[in-house]
């Protein structure tokens, strides 16, 4: 049987999330006969059109339903199961964003199959590497090849597939019964004009060493100067300096910018798990023994409140 892959699109507020194109990159490495992208939205035509431009995509299918206005696993999973069965796909992939983490296991359980979390390398259509213990070890796992393979893709391990494609778009009608036991109430979104953490080329982060919410302004200002996204350690989020969606690490966001600069972050293994794929890691910390220096490409021991203004000046 030749493989055909269904990639579940992650999108919000009418815009396709770049993680979808990263999942397509991973899918391409499995040498499938085709890669289809599934868009589940209330009005998915525009999102589907965006997905159709991703290089390597064979077809985009979208099923519009008012119940899909807000992505909820309980509502989406039965539709994905229906799409997977109607299209006889061998693989169903999603990104390892919180959207995919919440959703894909529900899909796998409904299909009655095991799931692979966080594919970071593809050996074959059924054999993959995935991180365990916060990335301190890598398991090579082989999934059964006689059942549908459900997996999430570790987006930091894959570049976004290029644009320029021109896949066909097809509206799909899905035969799925949707539950009413789960209702969306609201989404408190932290508005920011800065580059998105998970796709930014440069990220500047602050930790407990920044000291307060007010002090974080120096981190934001420097990030804005160099056009960087802003992240934080768990300690900074727990202390209330910044909102939760800025947390980088094992249980926060896993990122892969070309340049990662962190200030006042000691480097707990849970934080390091989130930055291992960064191109260049720069660490500034006043403690020369901080574990962050073990992974930094460039380290500087010193006071961030003295060094950031100097950096500001140097980059003009």
């Amino acid at each position: 049987m030749s493989n055909s892959i269904l990639v579940v699109a992650d999108h919000l507020n009418g815009t396709l999330n770049e993680s979808t194109a990263r999942a397509v990159s991973c899918a391409q490495q499995m040498s499938p006969a085709g890669i289809d992208v599934l868009v589940l939205a209330d009005d998915g035509a525009a999102i589907a059109a965006e997905a159709a431009k991703i290089d390597g995509v064979t077809k985009v299918v979208h099923a519009d339903n008012d119940a899909n206005a807000h992505p909820m696993a309980a509502t989406l999973a039965p539709q994905i199961v229906a799409a997977a069965q109607q299209g006889e796909y061998s693989h169903v992939l999603g990104p390892n964003t919180t959207f995919g983490k919440d959703l894909m296991p529900r899909v796998a359980a409904k299909l009655g199959v095991a799931m692979v979390t966080d594919i970071m390398a593809v050996h074959s259509a059924y054999e993959f590497d995935r991180p365990i213990y916060a990335g301190n070890a890598v398991d090579t796992v082989k999934a059964p090849d006689d059942q549908v393979l459900v997996a999430s893709v570790r987006c930091a391990s894959y570049p976004a597939a290029a644009g320029g494609g021109n896949a066909e778009v097809e509206a799909l009608s899905l035969d799925a019964e949707l539950p009413t036991h789960t209702r969306f109430v609201n989404l408190e979104q932290h508005k920011s004009d800065r580059p998105d953490l998970q796709t930014a080329g440069k990220v500047v982060s602050g930790g407990r060493g920044v000291g307060s919410e007010e002090n974080f302004k120096v981190v934001y200002d420097f990030a804005d100067k160099i056009g960087a996204g802003v992240g934080a350690s768990r300690a900074a989020v727990d202390a209330g300096y910044v909102p939760n969606d800025m947390q980088v690490g094992q249980t926060g966001k896993i990122i892969s910018p070309e340049l990662y600069m962190c200030f006042g972050i000691s480097g707990a293994i849970q934080h390091l798990a989130g930055i291992k794929d960064a191109g260049t890691i720069v660490a500034v910390n006043k403690d020369p023994e901080a574990p962050i220096f073990e992974v930094a490409d460039i380290g500087l021991v010193g006071d961030l409140f003295k060094i950031i203004p100097e950096l500001d000046e140097a980059v003009g």
């Binding site: 919000l12 696993a73 309980a74 999973a77 964003t97 919180t98 959207f99 983490k101 919440d102 959703l103 894909m104 296991p105 529900r106 359980a109 409904k110 199959v113 095991a114 799931m115 979390t117 966080d118 991180p131 365990i132 213990y133 916060a134 301190n136 070890a137 890598v138 398991d139 090579t140 796992v141 082989k142 999934a143 059964p144 059942q147 036991h181 789960t182 209702r183 969306f184 109430v185 609201n186 989404l187 408190e188 979104q189 727990d238 939760n244 969606d245 094992q250 340049l259 890691i281 720069v282 220096f293 930094a296 490409d297 460039i298 380290g299 500087l300 021991v301 060094i307 100097e310 980059v315």
Partner: protein
């Protein structure tokens, strides 16, 4: 209201793990184990509900070998009323764990099944979602706040875009994120009292569960290493290095 809380015995989060020389896994013998930290948050939450009068019984459940009884005792010391130990010496993967939890939920009929969002050993982040799927219950994952009513729960979830709130009918599976609460330190009298609380042993077969198809682990290896970095002495030197690399 009855609350079921699942816990997993895992290598303590402070341990620097070691990979076996033959690639057959990580070293677990003689290594400190604890309750998976996310599960500890789940226990704490259930106990807080009990102390606030929202819950009247809290039952801790685990799947694992004899040694996992130690973690159940800890859960009882937190204030769980009783515990169920589903004994197996096999490494249990998420779908099989979910089948066991499905069977336990049908037997115990809790209003809320609380679980950690992921275990810090396999980092799979699957079992809660799979359990709710098998039960056809609502799921609210990555919870940072839960407002419990008699038939519904309002759950604030930590997601990439910010904080999402869902309203779910009960019974439901709720998985905990880091900021839901800070687990208490256990006091000696509570630890002593826990020794007298009941732990019920059963097997996977007793529950009528068949194991799901497994992922086979071919090998376990260290992660790719990064090249050693350099220390610079001044901001100037840092800036010139970054300019050299074309990063500034």
């Amino acid at each position: 209201m009855k609350i079921l809380v699942s816990i997993k015995r895992a290598i303590d989060y402070n341990v620097r793990i070691q990979i076996k020389g033959d690639g057959s896994g990580v070293v677990t013998d003689g290594v400190k184990h604890s309750i998976n930290p996310f599960d500890e948050i789940a226990i704490e939450q259930a106990i807080r509900w009990k102390q606030a009068g929202d819950a009247d019984e809290v039952v801790a459940v685990t799947i694992g070998g004899d040694a996992a009884a130690e973690q159940l005792r800890t859960a009882l010391a937190f204030g769980c009323d009783r515990a169920i130990h589903v004994k197996t010496d096999d490494a249990v993967q998420p779908l099989t764990a979910a089948r066991v939890f499905e069977a336990l939920a049908k037997k115990e009929e809790p209003k809320v099944f609380l679980m950690g969002k992921q275990a810090i050993d396999d980092d799979a982040n699957q079992t809660g979602q799979m359990t709710s799927a098998l039960l056809e219950w609502p799921q609210a994952t990555f919870a940072s706040e839960v407002e419990l009513s008699s038939d519904t729960a309002k759950v604030t979830r930590e997601i990439d875009a910010g904080l999402e709130t869902l309203d779910v009918d009960l019974p439901a599976v709720i998985t905990t994120d880091l900021r839901l609460n800070e687990p208490r330190y256990l006091k000696l009298p509570d630890i002593m009292k826990a020794k007298k609380k009941p732990i019920e042993d059963m097997s996977v077969d007793d529950l009528g569960v068949t194991a799901a198809a497994r992922l086979e682990t071919v090998k376990t290896a260290p992660p790719p290493t990064r090249e050693a970095g350099v220390m610079v002495e001044s901001t100037e030197e840092l800036v010139s290095k970054l300019k050299e690399k074309g990063l500034l």
